[in-house]
């Protein structure tokens, strides 16, 4: 067994680059148990050293406020890695050491990777690593993670650190008289009572009590309620003392002293600056243009639009390959398998299901590549910065814009990558509200139905209506987000106290690894569930099939038709330039089969659901045919048009060429412009397709939210549709 090495450090410190440099392609991405924080693991082997490398989430501190910080802390405490490599950005030493100091207070075997020394040097910052090492009492190795420079030296130092058999280094900072005295006293109680023994150093526990750390205090209460109460009483006494004398809470005092300690340390010859640390750097000059009041939003619109274009246009060709491959396989099955249930299951359930999952892969890959570029260059943080004012008003975050755009904020996106793009949000509540509202956007799969109905009933205002429906989707998503943030996802906004990292050129290797690992995760996790649901939906649309006598009646009718036709007409049916008699026969046969399909669909479980719902759905104007098409839409929204075709006995309707369906609807007395509007509204807002639901469940970490979105969205959509349909009928608008 190789020793475990944990990589820890601030976001933007080059931690991921170092992880990639150490483990190469041998990495595994999963989640920490029970939470949605990504856990990356890999293996390092070189020069006689072997390590199991775990990449901890990037954090600025180790409080219990954010999930990432809690996960990192718990991992370090419970898993006790042999060595903790702390990546410290040399060009941003002061703030990075704030985390280092907290690792040392936890008594961890730390080894510092002083990263980006090249950037620091360019900024006129020289760091005496030997001096830093001796002052902190831990090894310090200079690295440039992007190029892998210093990697081997770092691993040698880490190995030496891992094999040291010694007591954890005792490291302590003075927090001023009041706190220090309390720490000593509380530390003694903790040791005497073996309180939370073995898990944390005693001084650290006392410190966390003084910082009012909810996690540690609740752990302490369940371990020894009496001693915990004694500690809490002491903390209250200290708190009231420091707040009356210094007008500050102990936790504030502790943070201030930590920075004071680091400041003093750096002044002892660790750092030499050639320029003022707050001087204007290249990155700031770029920001003057990119976040400029007038140019900034324009450039941002262009960048976001380009991301959208590139994602959807470059994935078109590979999606075509995937589709033609599955079309080919499906064709093979069609040709070589006997008609029957097995064939139907294989084609409509399995091949279409797997094809559906894999069809999204190119899209997801390009989306993640685009986002990785925005993220790694530092531009994503600027987008959040510029748009936060708008999105914060709806209880969201500036970064919510990317998921919304990718999800169909510019008509034609896709909710699946949109939901996955919400990962870039670090604020949990804003993230949840974002991923729950992304499916309201008009994704590409909703467009065929909209185009069909608008084209049939409102052909004069096609462009205007498409635009209005896009605006409506945005308004709906933002309004629902606001509603959610005031009810089920309520809570104070996550502070926007964020770093704007300097602009950097991303590395190709980093981008590719990033893109691939996320795509692979989608294929692996979503794939299995989606296949299962796809088979289930197939079964619902297929079983119980036609009753014996009905099927026999159709078979007899078909046989009679063929028997009545002369032999030479039958022979010509398969030909391109068949005679008029043969074409008519063929058409008649197709009509018969389409009718059979309609009856079978109506009799299926899905059809029965459609009929069963009719009394209620009538309020919105939907009959069983529309119901069943919309039920089918839960499998994939593009199915709505083809199911509608089957329900209207038109056989399989290609969603892209739905002229025959359009004629049928226009001629049907059941349909009106008002009903079309009601159906469009419902289809925009009702339950997301199940691929989206599965992604939501994965990203939110709970089935609860998947179920919520199905029920809530459908209720909302139905209310809207009823409102519009009944309102329209009342006022006699749009032929209602």
């Amino acid at each position: 067994m190789a020793a475990t090495l944990a990589l820890a450090g601030n976001p933007n410190s080059g931690k991921t680059s170092l992880f990639n440099a150490l483990t190469g392609a041998r990495q595994h991405v999963g989640n920490y148990p029970g939470v949605t924080v990504e856990k990356k693991e890999g293996f390092y082997k070189d020069n006689g050293f072997e390590f199991h490398v775990v990449d901890l989430p990037g954090t600025y501190s180790l409080t219990a406020f954010s999930l990432e910080e809690l996960v990192a802390r718990n991992y370090l405490v419970t898993e006790r890695p042999k060595v903790v490599v702390d990546i410290v950005d040399a060009s941003n030493l002061e703030r990075n050491l704030y985390l280092t100091v907290q690792f040392l207070e936890l008594g961890l075997p730390v080894c510092i990777a002083l990263n980006m020394v090249d950037v620091a040097r360019r900024d006129g910052v020289e760091i005496d690593e030997k001096r830093l090492s001796s002052l902190l009492g831990v090894p310090v190795v200079s690295t440039v993670a992007r190029s892998g420079q210093g990697k081997r030296e770092l691993m040698a130092a880490a190995a030496a650190r891992a094999h040291e058999i010694s007591e954890p280094t005792s490291f302590s900072i003075s927090y001023g008289d009041d706190i220090d005295r309390a720490l000593l006293e509380m530390g003694r109680w903790i040791e005497e009572g073996s309180f939370l023994s073995g898990r944390y150093p005693s001084r650290w526990v006392a410190l966390k009590y003084l910082e009012s750390d909810e996690e540690v205090i609740s752990e302490g209460r369940s371990a020894d309620a009496e001693l915990s109460a004694k500690l809490e009483t002491k903390v209250r006494a200290v708190a009231s003392h420091v707040s009356s004398t210094l007008n500050i809470q102990p936790e504030g005092l502790i943070a201030d002293h930590r920075y004071g300690f680091i400041n003093a340390l750096l002044k002892r010859g660790v750092i030499v600056r050639r320029y003022d640390e707050n001087r204007i750097r290249l990155s700031d000059k770029i920001d003057r243009v990119l976040t400029n009041r007038f140019l900034g939003p324009l450039i941002m619109a262009a960048v976001v639009f380009t991301l959208y274009q590139v994602t959807f246009s470059s994935s078109e060709t590979p999606i075509g390959w995937v589709e033609s491959f599955f079309g080919f396989v499906s064709g093979l099955a069609d040709t070589y398998l006997p008609n029957g249930l097995l064939k139907s299951l294989l084609i409509s359930g399995i091949i279409d299901g797997v094809g559906g999952v894999l069809g999204f892969v190119p899209l997801i890959m390009f989306m993640f590549l685009g986002i990785a570029i925005l993220e790694d260059t530092g531009y994503l943080a600027r987008i959040a910065f510029m748009l936060d004012r708008v999105f914060a008003a709806f209880g969201l975050h500036g970064s919510s814009v990317i998921p919304f755009i990718v999800g169909g904020g510019i008509a034609g996106g896709c909710a699946v990558p949109g939901i996955m793009a919400a990962r870039t949000l670090r604020s949990p509540k804003e993230r949840l509200a974002t991923l729950l509202t992304v499916p309201f956007m008009n994704c590409g799969a909703k467009l065929p139905l909209m185009a069909l109905l608008i084209g049939t009933f409102f052909s004069k205002h096609e462009g205007l209506l498409m635009f209005l429906f896009t605006v409506l989707a945005w308004l709906g998503a933002l309004a629902v987000a606001k509603l959610l943030r005031m009810t089920v996802v309520r809570g104070a906004p996550t502070p926007f106290v964020m770093e704007l990292p300097p602009y950097r050129l991303p590395t190709l290797k980093g981008l590719l690894i990033h893109t691939w690992e996320r795509t692979w995760q989608y294929i692996k996790k979503a794939g299995t569930v989606i296949l299962g649901i796809s088979i289930l939906l197939w079964a619902m649309m297929t079983f119980p099939g036609l009753p014996q006598n009905t099927r026999l009646a159709f078979e007899t009718a078909e046989r009679n038709l063929l028997a009545a036709a002369p032999a030479h007409v039958k022979d010509q049916m398969g030909l391109e330039n068949a005679s008029p008699e043969a074409a008519a026969l063929k058409q008649e046969l197709e009509r018969l089969r389409a009718e059979e399909a309609e009856v079978a669909l109506r009799n299926s479980f899905a059809g029965r659901i459609g009929s069963f719902l009719e009394p209620v759905s009538r309020w919105a104007g939907f009959d069983w045919k529309i119901n069943i098409a919309l039920v089918g839409g839960i499998a994939a929204k593009e199915v709505v048009v083809s199911t509608l075709g089957t329900a209207y006995s038109l056989g399989d309707v290609d969603p892209e060429e739905s002229a025959s369906l359009s004629e049928t609807l226009a001629a049907s007395p059941d349909w009106s412009g008002l009903l079309a509007l009601s159906v469009i509204l419902f289809s925009m807002f009702y339950a997301p397709c199940f691929v989206s639901v599965v992604c939501m469940v994965r990203e939110s970490g709970s089935w609860k939210w998947g179920a919520f979105s199905i029920i809530f969205n459908t209720t909302l959509a139905f209310s809207l549709a009823v409102l519009v349909y009944q309102g329209g009928r009342f006022f006699g608008l749009l032929g209602g």
Partner: protein
Amino acid sequence: MAQIPMRRLKQGQSAVIASISAQGELGRRIRDMGLNPGTSVKIQGRAPLNDPVALRVRGFTLTLRNSEADFILVEVE
């Protein structure tokens, strides 16, 4: 030396943090990112809609919303 809320600082203006009245998570975030009393800050820019604001502190750039800056009092020359 006058003490004013950080929100009122103008573009390019420098100041020294006098006190922070935020508590709980916000208070911790502000302090963890290095905004402590005695630290000097400089307004680097504002978002197109005037909010949030970008500050230069301890050699890096930090953003915060105006509503969050209201908890910070600064001293200006």
